[in-house]
Symmetry: none
Subunit: 261 residues, 2 copies
Amino acid sequence: MPDLSFGQYELAYNMFSFTVATMFASFVFFILARQQVAPKYRPALVVSALVVGIAGYHYWRILGSWTAAYEFLGVEEGFKATGVPFNEAYRYVDWLLTVPLLLVELVAVLSLPKDKGNGMLTRLIIAAAAMIALGYPGETSDNQSTQMIFFVLSCIPFAYILWVLVGELSKAVEGMNGEVQNLLSKTRTIILITWMFYPIAYLFNVFELSGAMGEVGVQVGYTIADVTAKAFYGVFIYFIAKAKSDAEGWAPAEAGKAAHA
Amino acid sequence: MPDLSFGQYELAYNMFSFTVATMFASFVFFILARQQVAPKYRPALVVSALVVGIAGYHYWRILGSWTAAYEFLGVEEGFKATGVPFNEAYRYVDWLLTVPLLLVELVAVLSLPKDKGNGMLTRLIIAAAAMIALGYPGETSDNQSTQMIFFVLSCIPFAYILWVLVGELSKAVEGMNGEVQNLLSKTRTIILITWMFYPIAYLFNVFELSGAMGEVGVQVGYTIADVTAKAFYGVFIYFIAKAKSDAEGWAPAEAGKAAHA
C-alpha cells in the first residue's frame, strides 16, 4: 500500500463511512417500504434489502481494514502504510453475493413469466460468478500482463450480462404504461452507467496508476459504483414496483377505516 | 485542536452521548409509531426514522473521533490534544444524507399534489446539496477570508430553502382544521429557529472563537441543532400526521376489540 497524504486517506475513509450509513439506511427503507407496494412486488424489495444489508456489513469491514492498513503520522506528514495489506477480498466476496441478488431483484420486479425468468436468471447468475471469479486473480496480481489477461476474460461475462439486461429492459418497456416505461428506461441507463465504473476502477490498478492517487481513485470509484448500483438502483426498483402497483389499481389497505364501518 | 479543561471536554462528550441515545430512541419510536397514522402518512414516518438512524450512526462515530482526538491528563490538568484531528467530515456526510431526507419528510406529510411536490422537492434538494458542499471548504479552512466567502456562498441556498419552506408552510396552513393549522405553524417556527443554529455555530469557527470555548461552543451548538432539527422536528411531523389522520376520520384498527366480539 502506498503512503497517503492526510486528505487522500480521509477522502477514502469518509467515502467508506458514508457508504456504511447509506447501505444500512437503505436496508431499513427497503424493509419498511414493502407495505407501499402490491404483494407480488414485495420479494423484489426483500432482495434489495439483502443486497444493501450485505454491502453495509462489507463496508463496515472495509473501513476497519483501511484503518488497520495505515498509521497516522501527522496532519502534514499524512499516513504511512503499516504493512498490513488492505483486504480487497471483502469487495469480491460482497460482489459474489450481491451481484446475483441484484439480478434476482430486477427479474422479480419485471415479473416475467416464471419459465422465462428462471432460465434467464440461471444464465445471468453463472455469468456473474464467472465475471467475479475471473476478476479477482487480476486484482490481486502485481504482474501487468496477468492483470490485463484477467481483465479481458472478466469482461466477456460482464458484456454478456449487460447485453441480456439491456435487451430485456428494452423489451419490457414495450406495452407498459407511461410512468413504468419511463422508470424502466431510467433503470437501464443507471445500470449501463454504474456498471461502467467497475472496469474503469479496475483499469486504474492495471495502468500503474497504483501510487497514492491510484489507490484512492480505485477505492472512491468502487464506492461510488456500489452506492449507485445497490442503494440508488434499489430505490428505482422500489419506484418501479410502486408505479406498477398503482397501475394495477393496488393501494395500501385502510385497515382503520374498515374497523369503523 | 485546542487543549480543553476537564469540564469543557466532558460537556461536548456528554452532549454527543445524549445525542446517540436520543437519535436511536427516536429511530425506534418513528418505526413503531407508523401504526398510529393513516397509511398515506407512513412514508413520512419512515423517512423520519431514516434521518435519525443515520444521525445516530454519525454521532456514534463522532463520539469515537472526539475520544481519539484527546488524551486525559488529570481532573485538574484537563485534556491535551493527541494530534489526531477530530473528523468534522462526519457532520457534513450526515447532512448530505439527512437534509434532503428532512425535506422529503415535510413534503410527504403535507401530501401536496404529486407534480407540485416533486418539482419543489427537486429544487430544494439541489439547494441543500449546494449549501452543504459550499459550507465544507470554509469549515475546514484556516484562513478567515476563505471561511467568510464560503459562509456567504453557503447562505444563499440556505436562505432559498427557508424561504420556500416557510412560504409553503404558510400556504399549507390555509384550509386546514384548527389543530393541524396550529401544528404546522409550530413546525414553521421550529424550522426557523433550529436552522439558525447552524450558521451561528459556523460563525463561532470563523471569528477566532476557535480556542477551547470556541471549539466546545461549535460542537454543542451543532449538537443542539441536530437534535432539534431531526428528532424534535420528526416528533412534530408525527403529530401533524396523527392530527391529519384524525381529521380524515382514520383510526387504528381495533383488532383486540374485534377479537372479543
